[in-house]
Structures are given as C-alpha cells and as structure tokens.
Symmetry: C2
Subunit: 157 residues, 2 copies
C-alpha cells in the first residue's frame, strides 16, 4: 500500500495560495492595462457590463450572484454604468415581486466591443507561452474546483 508523501506542509505551497497569488497579480496587471489604455471603466464595471450583455433582463440580485459581489456594491457598480449610459435599468416583476432589471445600451455594446478589442490581444500575449491545451485544461479544472467551492460556501446575497 503506497502512502502519499506528505511534503506540502505549508499553506503557501497549496493550490489555494497559488490561486490567490496568481489572481492578485493578474488583477494588478489588468488594472494597470486599463489605466494605460485609458479605459473609462474599472475592471469590476467591465466584468459587470460583460455579464449584463450576455444576461439581458437580469435583475440586480441575480447579477450580484453571478459576479460574486454583494447587493450593495452591485447596485453601486450599476449606478456608475447607468450614469455613463452603458446600461438602462427598468422596474419589472420577477415572481410577482418588483425588481430592477437591466439591459446593455447601444453605447454600452459599442464600448464593450471597443474594450474587448483593446484588451483581448494584450491579455492573450500573457498566455502566449502556455499551450492552448494547458489553458483549456486549467479552465476545466478550475470550473470543477469552483463547483466544489460552491457546495461548501455560505452565500448571503
């Protein structure tokens, strides 16, 4: 019977910490890129806008669940996007309840497209040394990882 060598005694050697560090670094890089390219959105606003664009008519709380922010901050991000004219919000009902739904505007779609074009090439250059297969595999593993996390996390959104 083989016993696994228990060499990863340190938290800093765990996949949890590796993920944390990589993500932190990546956020830094992307934020710096946004400033360099003079993109008038924060990274979070961009992610929210992109999420709205593929989830037309979503309500705020559901969006909050998707972008993993609480309702308060989701509302604030949407305030900013609305004020910039990239989304429209309208009152509607969901399960007989009044909710604030939203959609992306023409201008928002155009802006999203512009940012995508600006950013995409740059971000891909970061992963150029990594094979498509590896990228694919990491994304798949992360997805199943995320599913496991969702099972144990308490979400109070």
């Amino acid at each position: 019977m083989k016993t696994k060598p228990d060499c990863k005694l340190h938290y800093t050697d765990s996949i949890h910490y590796e993920l944390e560090q990589t993500s932190r670094l990546m956020k830094k890089v992307t934020t710096q890129l946004f400033e360099k390219l003079e993109i008038g959105l924060s990274l979070d606003e961009y992610a929210a806008l992109d999420t709205v664009s593929v989830n037309a008519g979503i309500c705020q709380r559901d969006l909050a669940r998707l972008i993993l922010k609480d309702r308060a901050n989701t509302g604030r991000i949407l305030d900013s996007l609305e004020q910039k004219g990239f989304i429209t919000r309208f009152i509607d009902t969901k399960n007989n309840r009044l909710v604030k739904k939203m959609g992306i505007t023409e201008r928002g779609l155009k802006e999203l497209d512009t940012i995508n074009k600006k950013v995409k090439q740059y971000l891909e250059s970061v992963t150029k040394t990594i094979s498509d297969e590896d990228i694919e595999r990491v994304q798949e593993t992360l997805k199943s990882f995320r599913l496991e996390l969702e099972k144990v996390v308490e979400i109070n959104i």
Copy 2:
C-alpha cells in the same frame, strides 16, 4: 492552414475571469472556515506567518514582495503578528542599510502548526473530487502563468 475558431469573445469566458472568480470564492470559503474554527488570525496574517516561517530573517520589504502587498499593509500585518507574539522583529542591516528583519517565535510555530492541521484536512476535502494529477498540472500551469505576469506587471513596492 487551420484558423482558430474565435469563440471566446467575452471577458467572462477568459481564463483571467475564471481565475478571478475562483479565487474570490475560495477566499470566501477559507475566511468562513477560519471563523468557524475560531482561528485567531486573518487569512492574510496566516499566509504572512507561513511565509515568514520559511524565510527566517527576511526584511519587511522583501516579505511585501512575496505576499504581494504594499509596504504599509505588510507593516500592519506584522504589527498584529508581533503583538500576538507569533513573530519577533529586530533591527539589522541589509546591504549596509538598516532594516527590520523578523523571525517566527516558538509560539508562532506552534500556532502555525495547529492551524495547518485544522485547515489542511478541510481544504483538501474541497479538492477531493479532483485528481492529484489535475491539481499538480494546474499548479504548474499557474506557476508559468504567474511568471509571465511578473514579466509585465509594474511593481512599486
């Protein structure tokens, strides 16, 4: 000549966003675990303590570079760890300059060991459905990903 199908038009489909989301969720899970187990350290303090334990005699700025926090917050985290008696700080020189170096105390080592034992099993249960090979592969890919990021990021620590 094959042309790649360009189907990943959305940022939210990119590995960058997937990483961000997984990391955010994981942080939530770990923080909740720390509270449930009544661990008297924040996640950041834990990571810092672990880093100090394997880098005896490191100075503050070098530690900041390792944990990817700025000098200000690194100092604050260390204040807390010192106040709790888990590290000791002492003035020394590095390249002829006065620096604050640090080391983990007996008590800190004991605490770290306790937390490691408490946390390890729980965190591993999250990845139990993922094969060791996949975990290994993800960690390797993330590492090369991180190297690429380090090439392009501007670090002003």
